[in-house]
């Protein structure tokens, strides 16, 4: 009897495990699934109770409404532009700085790096207003470039690149030096090409951060034509641009699509990277 008891308990426990895990997977996915379905419904159907699950009629009206709005394509463009600048800035400048902090010697190097690291502790709100004032005085408010200045070279990117460069063997760089490369040449010919994996990581994280950013764009962008997608959609919602909610859902899905697709494609690397960062934290 003990035999059967033991085996049965194990199977029951396994079943419970699968049920719970799948249940929660549904919980986490349901909003996306439901939104996706509803984006093809009329508002009348989407807001019906009890909720319906098959769009009938199946309509593309919501997407069309969103795209017809002059501002929406502009928002997409602005967001892409902003993300592009941030990615480029981080990839370019953070790599250079990461390399310098990892491989070059200069007075105050470690103190300076620690000082930069300490900045991660300071909440965004403390520096928000003064940053706004600085950008204002530069005349770059309501300008994507002005907005970009803040996160152009994020400390976390510098940290990541430095970690990566530190992990590379010293010999390759020594060989370059012996071959007559000065420090800057070594960076461009040896460091940069070797850093591709880390560059990819920085690019992806910064893209995600920039595409989803809200507070910065909200504060630094003033006219609706210059908004990024999150700000624009929130604006559209609050101004009740459409009498129905479904266009907002459609717009939200369009806005979320790039990050979702990027994540699903790269999920193995992203998850691994985030876990490793947590380990170091």
């Amino acid at each position: 009897m003990r035999v059967k008891h033991h085996k049965l308990l194990k199977s029951v426990w396994l079943l419970i495990t699968y049920i719970i895990l799948t249940l929660f997977a549904l919980v986490y996915l349901m909003p996306f699934i439901r939104s996706f379905i509803a984006s093809f419904m009329t508002w009348a159907q989407a807001s019906s109770y009890p909720p319906e699950w098959l769009p009938s009629p199946f309509t593309l009206e919501n997407y069309l409404k969103v795209l017809r709005l002059d501002l929406f394509p502009r928002w997409v463009f602005n967001t892409a532009l902003y993300a592009g600048i941030i990615v480029a800035g981080n990839v370019f400048f953070a790599t250079m700085a990461g390399y310098a902090f990892a491989r070059l010697r200069f007075p105050g190097r470690d103190a300076l790096f620690s000082a930069l690291l300490a900045l991660l502790m300071v909440p965004a709100f403390v520096t928000l207003v003064p940053s706004y004032i600085i950008v204002y005085k530069l005349g770059l408010i309501d300008n994507i470039l002005g907005l970009s200045l803040l996160s152009l070279v994020h400390v976390s990117s510098i940290f990541l690149m430095r970690q990566y460069f530190l992990s590379l063997p010293q010999d390759v760089f020594d060989a370059a030096r012996v071959d007559g490369c000065g420090p800057i040449k070594t960076f461009f010919y040896i460091g940069l090409p070797l850093a591709k994996p880390a560059l990819g990581a920085v690019a992806v994280y910064q893209f995600l951060g920039a595409w989803n950013a809200f507070l910065g764009p909200l504060v630094f962008l003033r006219s609706p034509e210059n908004f990024t997608l999150p700000v624009g959609l929130s604006f559209a919602f609050q101004r009740a641009m459409w009498t129905e909610y479904t266009p907002i859902i459609a717009g939200s899905l369009i806005a979320a699509a790039p990050t979702i697709i990027l994540f699903i494609v790269l999920n193995k690397y992203l998850i691994r990277g985030i876990v490793i960062t947590a380990g170091k934290g």
Binding site: R2, V3, H6, K7
Partner: protein
């Protein structure tokens, strides 16, 4: 009574049969060593006894109970892992105390027992330290203490000495045997790939290869009376020399013919080898049982030296007898040899092994 009995146990991992119809009895209070090369199934066998794996076929007994379905938490056995598996977040005291805590032993008694065992193993000064602050030898003692404190019926040890440096290993061999067998008098099953450990520590050795038991015997018998070519070749350094050949009759005497060599078979083996006339056999002779001399002596055979290894205490001489194989003999360190030289070797006739070529099993024992 804490005997352990494996009855026809099989364990598969996918298509690999890790434990292949193993039947083994470990007697109460016996110190049994499972010896074999990596991958031979000895660790898996140990884990089956512990309950960390379940057998696909066969039964495992501890005492008088079949324990196949008994949870490892309830088997009353203790195991010392190769990596020691100490709880890194607990102090030494916490580590040793843990099994008692799980058994709901009251706090005062736990304290008493932990201190007693710690004193017994000489680690009472370390009770407040954490595993990562200890040396390898100290960690091992803590692992031992944790096993001992439970007063289990059986001790299982999985290559406990392999992470220690050579000197410590020699010391610990004696200590472990004394502790577990002489003082605690508890059934112990010890897994290792090191034959010196096996020979010096075991009451009996079970030699394993590819999931099967090759021989179970006293250490001296495993050495002197190997049951098959594997055991003969695995035990002993340098390894046993094997010659392949046929038993024939020449001049009314039994002769072992191999290539250019005809070896007269001594009287004492005649009755057992008579039935093998005309059949292929393998003869085994240990390097230590070969006498080497520069001149031809009675019953010796010529050979050419192809290499030698001076060890300081003795010299290993590698030679061929023109059948494309190297053989090794152990000679005195004072012998002066040169490559290519011809020497004469003579096997000790009392120490010959004969194996059936087809079954690889010993004909004599």
């Amino acid at each position: 009574m804490a005997r352990v009995y494996l009855e026809n146990v099989v364990k598969r991992f996918g298509r690999v049969v890790a434990v292949d119809h193993v039947t083994l009895e470990v007697r109460d209070k016996e110190f049994m060593v499972l010896l074999g090369p990596s991958g031979c199934g000895k660790s898996t066998t140990l884990r089956l006894i512990a309950g960390l794996e379940t057998p696909d076929e066969g039964r495992i007994w501890i005492g008088n109970t079949v324990v196949n379905e008994v949870d490892p938490t309830k088997r009353n056995i203790a195991m010392v892992f190769q990596s020691y598996a100490l709880y890194p977040h607990m102090t030494v005291y916490g580590n040793i105390e843990f099994p008692l805590k799980m058994a709901h032993v009251p706090k005062e008694e736990r304290r008493r027992k932990v201190i007693q065992v710690a004193r017994f193993l000489g680690i009472e000064d370390l009770l407040n330290r954490y595993p990562k602050q200890l040396s390898g030898g100290q960690q091992q003692r803590v692992a031992l203490a944790r096993a001992i404190v439970r007063e289990p019926e059986v001790f299982l040890l999985d290559e406990p000495l392999s992470n220690l440096d050579a000197k410590l290993r020699v010391k610990m061999r004696f200590e472990l045997r004394r502790l577990l067998h002489d003082e605690l008098k508890t059934t112990t099953i010890y897994v290792t790939h090191d034959q010196v450990e096996a020979m010096t520590m075991a009451d009996r050795i079970a030699v394993m290869n590819q999931g099967r038991i090759m021989q179970v015997a006293l250490p001296i018998d495993v050495f002197d009376k190997p049951a098959n070519t594997f055991v003969a070749g695995f035990i002993g350094v340098p390894p046993t020399n094997f010659l392949e050949g046929v038993i024939t009759v020449k001049n009314e005497r039994l002769v072992f013919s191999t290539g250019p060599l005809d070896l007269t078979i001594p009287e004492e083996y005649h009755d057992r080898l008579e039935g093998y006339v005309g059949r292929e056999v393998i003869m085994g002779i240990r390097p230590q049982d070969i006498t080497v001399s520069k001149e031809a002596i009675e019953n010796s055979y010529p050979a050419k030296i192809v290499g030698y290894e001076p060890l300081g205490t003795e010299t290993y001489i590698h030679f061929t007898i023109n059948d494309n194989k190297d053989y090794v003999a152990v000679a005195s360190k004072d012998m002066k040899i040169k490559l290519g030289e011809t020497i004469y070797w003579k096997p000790n006739s009392a120490k010959l092994y004969f194996f059936d070529k087809r079954t690889q099993k010993s004909i004599l024992y």
